[in-house]
Symmetry: C2
Subunit: 205 residues, 2 copies
DNA sequence: CTTGTAGTTTACTAAATAGTAAACAATTAT
DNA sequence: ATAATTGTTTACTATTTAGTAAACTACAAG
């Protein structure tokens, strides 16, 4: 019983938006509260600090959006090489939409916040680490499947996955810094080239 | 004539150190002054803001350290494939030393600060963009030379350089977030693999 | 309809921070 | 020496920010 509320969700959404668009350090609790339309007293009713909110916001974003997207893109019902190409294409399309909306390239919130805070806030660092590692595993699994069906050469799948992921995050970071999505446009093909795909298996002409 | 001073240099050094180790947003002017052993009045005598100091610190670091390192590593007197391998090895060794000194993986200050501030501070963004583009050109030139001598397959050298650079910065970011240098250790070989080097030309057995 | 619970609001404090003004100190050219 | 110049220091203000305490409101179960 008692009063009901969606303030917690409003705060999580506002925090992720602001931190993604600006940065963790520059966003104040007051700004988050204002954007969420929630008073500071309520903020402290739900969260103990900005750090705790950020951790919760990253986790909530994964649970509510990220996981489904990645599950769909890396579905076993899709040929493994296509999974990877589609993923990079999806990432590019998503950044195009975000740029249209915000006027700026935003990149990956998890990686940006992680890089910014990792030497200062261990709880954020661990949460980011956890989410990023989950993501690398999607790559790894697709690479293993592609190797099994012979569409890419054999080799250490975990290492290749990390390599692709670093390329991905590095490109997102570059795109954010240059405010230019050109870096991402070629990734669907570049990534497959790195994996050693010879013949373009399906969708592309 | 007039009084002489090294306060400006002390401030530049302190700023880069602190921002590298922590982040741009979390470092205050007071903290920079304290680390530099300079009073705030002097800070404002030399710089108009934290942002201006950061821009100057990044530029000074390139002028005094970065340029010479890159020039040496990418010297035309070195076989082009070795330049690339040596660069990644040097980067790894440098991060090992930094980790020993600071207890944490720090990554690339330019990229970290750039990613953190790019949507908030246009002058920092432009300076970072400039420095990063300079660095990509070293890769590009080495790749072109390697292609010319036939040690790697032909293809768009600028695109390959951007790809390698994204891999590099993405790996540094990952290393910072995971506080683990494993990501960087394999880069000397991984990078050459991506470029399509078949035979390990020199130093390695 | 009243009581316990869940959430909200207001008004506040204490601390951190950016930024300034003006007196002060050192150096050098004349 | 003494001015002019360059840099330093101190002490200050105004603002922003995190965080708290306590009164208040809505709701739901008995």
């Amino acid at each position: 019983m008692g009063r009901t509320s969606n303030a917690k969700e409003l705060l999580l959404d506002a925090a992720l938006d602001l931190i993604w668009e600006r940065s963790y350090g520059v966003v104040t609790i007051d700004a988050i509260c204002e954007k969420a339309g929630v008073k500071k007293g309520s903020f402290y009713y739900f969260f103990e600090s900005k750090s705790a909110l950020a951790v919760a916001a990253l986790e909530a974003d994964w649970d509510q959006c990220g996981k489904q997207k990645w599950d769909g893109l890396f579905s076993a019902s899709i040929p493994p090489v296509d999974r990877i190409r589609n993923f990079f294409q999806f990432a590019y399309d998503g950044q195009v939409a975000l740029k249209k909306e915000h006027g700026q390239v935003l990149g990956c919130p998890c990686f940006s916040v992680g890089s910014e805070t990792s030497t200062q806030d261990e709880t954020i660092r661990l949460k980011v680490q956890e989410i990023l590692q989950r993501q690398v595993r999607y790559f790894e699994s697709a690479i293993r499947d592609a190797q099994a069906e012979g569409s890419i050469p054999p080799g250490d799948a975990a290492a290749k996955a990390k390599c692709l992921f670093a390329l991905f995050e590095g490109s997102l970071g570059q795109a954010r810094i240059q405010n230019d999505l050109e870096f991402l446009r070629v990734l669907p093909e570049t990534s497959l080239g790195i994996l050693g795909v010879t013949r373009t298996s399906s969708s592309a002409a």
